[in-house]
Structures are given as structure tokens and as C-alpha cells.
């Protein structure tokens, strides 16, 4: 027998009963499994999924087993030494290639942003993932806790956002990118992929092939729910190999059984917004020449999503030489799509005067500005995010002192965000346009 490791040494403590080797092995196995699979009561979903996938005819994901050796009569006559040498050379080449791939395989994904506890799981152990890290093919990412999240960006700018308790595996193959999701929620925005190299997402219950689309996948123990908000996705349910096309605005739920596929239209509120600025990149706001100076900067003190927001600090009052209350105007590039009907700012009020208001307008290519809506900050609870939503397609001409006489959304170049009537310290985040008013829309006037 091969030499035993520490688990088989004889017991020698006076206060403990001697342990027989089998008992020591049993405890050793328990401790190893605890270290591998986590605390009591936890299910290793990835492992269960692998077994169920193999039962459903999928190939083994991790385990590569050599095919049984069958020695025919002719092979048996070969000199054993030649065969051994050939096998050794082949193994050395294989190990060399595998080692080269491990060391020099190009990164396939960059981690743009991380919230909460997100970790990289490998056979070597678990390490925390930080923003800016680049990941190679074959890694697994795990989010722990409801506040965990990360945004992963592929070389072609496809983006995947993982949220909450989630475990995903990333692989790059000659046939395209592969993403395995064992549990949790991901949102993906995929650039157009080559038709012969599609992006394939696999869950314990189904696989989804995307060529270029925007989708959300929610995987629980029993079901995979696919929501397509843009483009078309082909989904295959593993239990019966049923194929289905899921188009924009539709959702499908597939479980491990072969019952009827649950399918329907996404509620309008679930159709997501198009982000104008999530404030995770460089500052894109500028101060308008028409307003008073103000302090505005990217900040990490508050964030509606991600790690940053825009902090605005405006000192109200009546500026020198003017009898009316002052105001400040911030300008941000904006393009309005044909389906966009609403503009939303998520706002967090740290402090404000009783009469401080926020206001938003659109600006045209000839500098004409069109009023969209305003809101009195003191009517909103302090220290909480609220949605300031205004309609983008206004019915009549308003507040346009220069330039255009007709409001044409195609000519809109910027949105304007103003604070006036008093002082305030507030944060703005997740500015977005959408076809319907978001579910979290607040009251505006």
C-alpha cells in the first residue's frame, strides 16, 4: 500500500481512546468534504448539476477519464518499451500544452465592477475578486449574499452582470464563449456574435444560444427563467430536448420535468431602461454657461447601483446683482431613441431647503431648451433614493427662448438637470430613458 499520510498515524494521547484507522479516515473525509463543500446543510449545486447533466446525456464537465485500454493481439506484440516511450512523450507534450495554456491563455473577461463578496473558485482554493482583474477561460465566479454583484466585460464589449448568490463558470472554446450558471441571476447584454461561434449559456435545466441580444436569466434549484428584452434567443430544455425561440419582450420558464413550457410576455414595467449614465465611468456632466457655479463630482458616498453616483452641491440664495433665486444647470449628452418615452433620474437628497426644486429639460442642436418637468425636493424623504421621471415627448412648446420652434426629439443633443430655489446636497444616479415609466417612478409635477 502507498504510504499513508497523517490520517493513519497511530493515536497516542493519554486522554483519548485510541482511534482505529477507519475512524480516522472517516473523520478525515468529513473534514475534507466540509472544506470542499461548505457548511452543514449546504448543497453543492454545481456538483449536483454535473451529475444530472451527465444523466441527461451531457458530457462530463470536469472529469476527464481515459478510455479503457483494449490491447489487441497485434498491439500486444509491440515491444513494451517503445509503447511506454511513445506514451511518455505524448504525456509530456500534453502536459506542456496544458501548462502553457494555464500560464499563457489569454484573459477572456475583465471584471469592471464588484460589490459585496464575489470570489474566484478554483481547485487551489477561493480568492476574492477585485475590480480590474482579468479572468482566463475555465474559472468559476461565485457571489455570496444578496448584496454581491459584479460586471464582467468580454473582449467584444459584451457585458454580463451577476447578482446576489450566484455561481457561474466561464469558458472560451473554438466554437464561441460558454457561460455555465448553476444558481442565481445574471443580466447580459451581448454584442453580435459570429453565427458559427454563438454565445451559449447553460443552466441545470436548459441552454440558451444568443447571437446578439439583451436578456436576464434567473436560475433556482427547480427552474430556469429566461427573459429576453432585446433580440432573439434559442433555448433548449434538457429534459426533453424541446427547442424554442424566445423573442424580444417574452419570457420562458424551463424546469427539470417535461411538463408544458411556461411562456408569456414580459410586463411593460419589466422592459428595462436604456442607461444614459450609471456614473461608473468618467464624469460626463458639464456645468451650463447659463447657471450659477456649483460643485459636482463622481462620488462613492451614495450609489443607486454600482459604486458611484453624481454628487451635486448647490448653494442657493440670490446671487449678487440678481433679485431672483439662483439656479445651476448641469448638461449631459442625450440621444432619444424612437421608442423612448420617459427620462428618469434616480435622486438621493442629503439636505435641502424647503423651496429647493430640481428641474429637467432637453437641449436641441441649436441650443434651444425644452422644459420637461420639475419636483420639490422637500416632498421626498431625505436619505432615500426616488425616481424623478418625466415624459420625453412633450405635446406643446414650452420654455424655449432660443432656437427651435418645433420640438423634434431627433434633434435633442443633451439633457439638462437643474437645481433652483434654494440650496441642496443631492446625488443623481442611473439616468435612463425607457418606453414605459419605470415601476419606481416617483411623483413629479
Amino acid at each position: 500500500m502507498k504510504s499513508a499520510d497523517n490520517t493513519l498515524s497511530p493515536a497516542g494521547d493519554q486522554n483519548l481512546e485510541p482511534t482505529n484507522p477507519a475512524d480516522d479516515m472517516a473523520i478525515d473525509g468529513l473534514l475534507r468534504e466540509r472544506a470542499r463543500g461548505g457548511q452543514a446543510g449546504q448543497v453543492d449545486q454545481a456538483f449536483v448539476s454535473q451529475i444530472m447533466a451527465r444523466i441527461h446525456g451531457e458530457p462530463a464537465l470536469h472529469v476527464v477519464r481515459a478510455a479503457p485500454t483494449v490491447r489487441s493481439a497485434s498491439v500486444a506484440r509491440w515491444p513494451r518499451r517503445v509503447l511506454t516511450m511513445a506514451a511518455s512523450v505524448a504525456i509530456l507534450i500534453g502536459v506542456g500544452i496544458a501548462g502553457y495554456r494555464m500560464l499563457y491563455a489569454p484573459a477572456i473577461v475583465a471584471v469592471e465592477e464588484v460589490r459585496g463578496q464575489v470570489q474566484l473558485v478554483s481547485r487551489r482554493g477561493v480568492t476574492l475578486v477585485a475590480a480590474g482583474v482579468r479572468l482566463r477561460s475555465g474559472v468559476e465566479i461565485e457571489g455570496r449574499g444578496a448584496d454581491a454583484g459584479a460586471t464582467l466585460i468580454y473582449a467584444d464589449s459584451s457585458r454580463i452582470r451577476i447578482q446576489g448568490d450566484v455561481r457561474v463558470g466561464l469558458t472560451s472554446t473554438g466554437q464561441g464563449q460558454r457561460l455555465r450558471i448553476d444558481l442565481g441571476v445574471i443580466r447580459g447584454n451581448f454584442q453580435k456574435q459570429e453565427i458559427t461561434r454563438p454565445f451559449v449559456i447553460t443552466t441545470p435545466h436548459a441552454s440558451a444560444t444568443v447571437v446578439g441580444t439583451e436578456l436576464t436569466m434567473k436560475i433556482s434549484q427547480d427552474i430556469t427563467r429566461l427573459e429576453v428584452t432585446e433580440g432573439l434567443v434559442n433555448m433548449v430544455r434538457f429534459s426533453d430536448r424541446q427547442r424554442m425561440d424566445v423573442s424580444q419582450g417574452e419570457y420562458v420558464e424551463a424546469g427539470a420535468d417535461r411538463g408544458p413550457v411556461i411562456r408569456g410576455r414580459l410586463a411593460k414595467a419589466m422592459v428595462p431602461e436604456t442607461s444614459v449614465d450609471s456614473h461608473e465611468q468618467e464624469l460626463k456632466w458639464k456645468c451650463s454657461r447659463y447657471g450659477d457655479p456649483t460643485v459636482f463630482e463622481l462620488s462613492t458616498r451614495q450609489a443607486h447601483s454600482g459604486g458611484h453616483s453624481l454628487r451635486v452641491e448647490y448653494k442657493g440664495g440670490e446671487p449678487a446683482g440678481r433679485k431672483s433665486p439662483g439656479y445651476t444647470i448641469l448638461v449631459h449628452p442625450l440621444r432619444i431613441g424612437k421608442d423612448d418615452q420617459f427620462l428618469t433620474y434616480r435622486v438621493f437628497v442629503e439636505s435641502c431647503d424647503a423651496d429647493t426644486q430640481i428641474n429637467t429639460m432637453t437641449q436641441m442642436d441649436d441650443q434651444g431648451a425644452w422644459f420637461l418637468g420639475c419636483s420639490l425636493l422637500s416632498t421626498h424623504p431625505k436619505g432615500q433614493w426616488f425616481a424623478f421621471t418625466v415624459p420625453l415627448r412633450i405635446p406643446v412648446k414650452k420654455n424655449n427662448n432660443v432656437g427651435s420652434a418645433i420640438y423634434d426629439t431627433v434633434r435633442v443633443t443633451d439633457c439638462l438637470f437643474s437645481v433652483f430655489g434654494g440650496s441642496a446636497v443631492l446625488y443623481v444616479d442611473d439616468v435612463a430613458v425607457s418606453a414605459t415609466a419605470p415601476a419606481d417612478s416617483g411623483k413629479t409635477k
Binding site: M1, K2, D5, N6, T7, S9, A11, G12, D13, L16, E17, T19, N20, P21, A22, D23, D24, M25, A26, I27, D28, G29, L30, L31, R32, E33, R34, A35, R36, G37, Q39, A40, G41, Q42, V43, D44, F47, V48, Q50, I51, M52, R54, I55, H56, G57, A60, H62, V63, R65, R123, R124, G125, S239, D240, A256, D257, R258, G259
Partner: protein, 179 residues
Amino acid sequence: MSGNPCDDKTFEILVREHHRRVLAYALSLVRREDVAQDLVQEAFLVAHRKLPEFDSSRDFGNWLRGIVRLEYLEWTRRQREVPFSDNILNALEARYREWDDAGGDGRTEIFEALQLCLQNLQDMARRTIDLFYTERRSCADIGDQMGASEPVVRKRLERARQSLLQCISKRMAASEVMA
């Protein structure tokens, strides 16, 4: 491909219920995660194939461990390693059966008992166990960190496992009596 989706669902429940204890059993035998996972995956595939032959009056865990044992013997044959003796394998199987029997029907489950017993370990023993099993450090590394020789670390691990075994046995027995 399996035939009946209801069977698949039932089998998935069995996998979820048993996989960690069976993995612990396989790790007891081979001490390598990749090999243990391989053995257990194969065992579940065999179990799924032979499920119609399974006598439901028997314990599924015992049956599954029997399959893992056969897979282990096959693996040692391929690796040209001498397997553990039948006596050791029988004793190991008996220990796991005892834990299974004591842990059913809402009584303390073995990993739960292990967790509680780990909390009761002395600090030094607990730290040594964490370094060796959780952080996967070698005995030599642990010795360097704790200012002890490698044999001393091995001895500490061994004593810690003895303490855990006794604690787990007491807890499981108490749980059985209360149930």
C-alpha cells in the same frame, strides 16, 4: 437519456440529499477531491442506471457507498495501487452507516455535528485543522507558522480528529436518544 421525468426529479432529490456524505466517504478513501468527485459521479450514474433494480426497503446511502467502494477498487486497480484492506473498508462503511442511521428523521446531521464539535475544539487544535483542511496548507508550512515541527503538527491533527470523533459520537448518540 433517462425515461421518466418524475424518476429524474426523484433521483435529483436523492443526489442532493446524499452527495455530500458520499463525497466525504470517497474522500476518506482517496483524499483527492478530483478523484473523489469522479468516483461519486460514476457511482451516481451507475445508481441511476440500476435504480429499477434497487430494493426500496434497503438504505440508499448504503447501496450508494457500496457502488463507490467498487469504483474505488477499480480505480486502485487502474492506478496499480494496493487498496485498503477489507477490514478497513468494512469498518469505514460501518462508521458511515452508523452516522447515517443516527442522523435521519430530523436528528442531528453529521455535518451539523461536525460543525458543533469543531466549535468546541481547543483553539490550537481548531487552528491546526483550519490551516490543514480549509487553507490546504502542508504540515511543514503549518509547523513553520506555529513554531512546531512537522511531526508535532501531524500529532495535533490526529488528536484533533480523535476529539472530533468522540464528540460526534456523543452528539449523534444523544440526538438518537432524544429522537
